[in-house]
């Protein structure tokens, strides 16, 4: 609860000092790394084909709809 000494560690990290509770920077870093690990693990996973197929279909439909100007490409 106590306002933790901002005197000791300069709050140079850009954090607002109206936080009631300040985590140990090491804990914060660790959480930050884990957060990225969790997220990037999924970001780097292969994207299922169905999404590309879906977008291709949407695009094809739109091109047909707007068709007048463009020839039907396949």
């Amino acid at each position: 609860m106590s306002r933790l000494d901002t005197a000791m560690s300069d709050p140079g990290e850009g954090f607002d000092d109206d936080f009631e509770l300040v985590l140990d920077p090491k804990v914060q870093e660790s959480i930050g790394r884990s957060l990225k690990a969790h997220y990037d693990d999924i970001v780097n996973a292969p994207v299922p084909d169905k999404f590309l197929v879906l977008l291709a279909q949407l695009e094809a439909t739109e091109q047909r709809a707007a068709g007048a100007s463009t020839d039907e490409c396949k």
């Binding site: 933790l4 000494d5 999924i42 879906l54 949407l58």
Partner: protein, 207 residues
């Protein structure tokens, strides 16, 4: 699929200027680029990869149908996250809970790999993350992992920046608490996060 549920008032398509093929292609390529991020955000929200992919599919459909509402030059990611998040809260949240109840969260099912850098075990971390209140988890992910700014996160959630900051702070604190229940040995013998929170700045790692 009607995209109308996100925009109740049925505007006549005033500016029915059809997109050029090039614009459509740019937009589509933008969507493709964002798919991995959408999946990661959706999985973080729903706790299930399967639901995440359904959610991403709905998001792509809505985005495509509303592409005229996207302002070029603004962040496509933020725009898509807004759609995804709204879709999640209006349609998926309940399903997510059911799936988690019956199958366990993705945290328990997904193989973990390649997190050498991380001090905390990825599976443990994901379990803890899944326990956070939604409003804290979503903002922690947004500002901590996706590269979105606090301001963008505030826009997406429709709250003030200060609210985002305090949610992020509470999320971190809560995570530290949750993780200290498990094993955070890597953080150091007497540096469980609970203790760490009370002893900020105590540099004396007395050895």
């Amino acid at each position: 699929m009607s995209a109308s549920d996100s925009s109740p008032k049925s505007e006549p398509r005033a500016k029915s200027e059809p997109r050029t093929e090039a614009q459509a292609r740019d937009f589509k390529e933008g969507l493709i680029r964002e798919i991995p991020n959408l999946r990661a955000f959706a999985a973080s929200l729903s706790g299930s990869m399967q639901l995440a992919d359904d959610l991403v599919q709905d998001t792509l459909l809505k985005a495509w149908g509303n592409s005229d509402k996207f302002e070029p030059g603004t962040s496509l990611r933020a725009w898509l996250f807004t759609i995804l998040r709204n879709t999640y809260y209006s349609l998926y949240r309940k399903r997510g809970r059911e799936v988690q109840d019956s199958e366990g969260t993705y945290a328990e099912r997904m193989a973990t790999h390649g997190n050498q850098e991380s001090h905390l075990d990825l599976a443990d971390f994901r379990k803890a993350l899944a326990k956070l209140p939604e409003e804290q988890r979503e903002v922690l992910i947004m500002v901590g992992a996706t590269g979105l700014s606090y301001e963008e996160a505030a826009d997406i959630c429709g709250v003030a920046i200060g609210t985002i900051k305090s949610r992020v702070n509470r999320a971190r604190t809560k995570l530290a608490e949750l993780l200290s229940i498990g094993s955070v040995d890597d953080l150091g013998p007497d540096r469980t996060s609970a203790a760490a929170m009370q002893r900020v700045g105590s540099e004396s790692v007395g050895s």
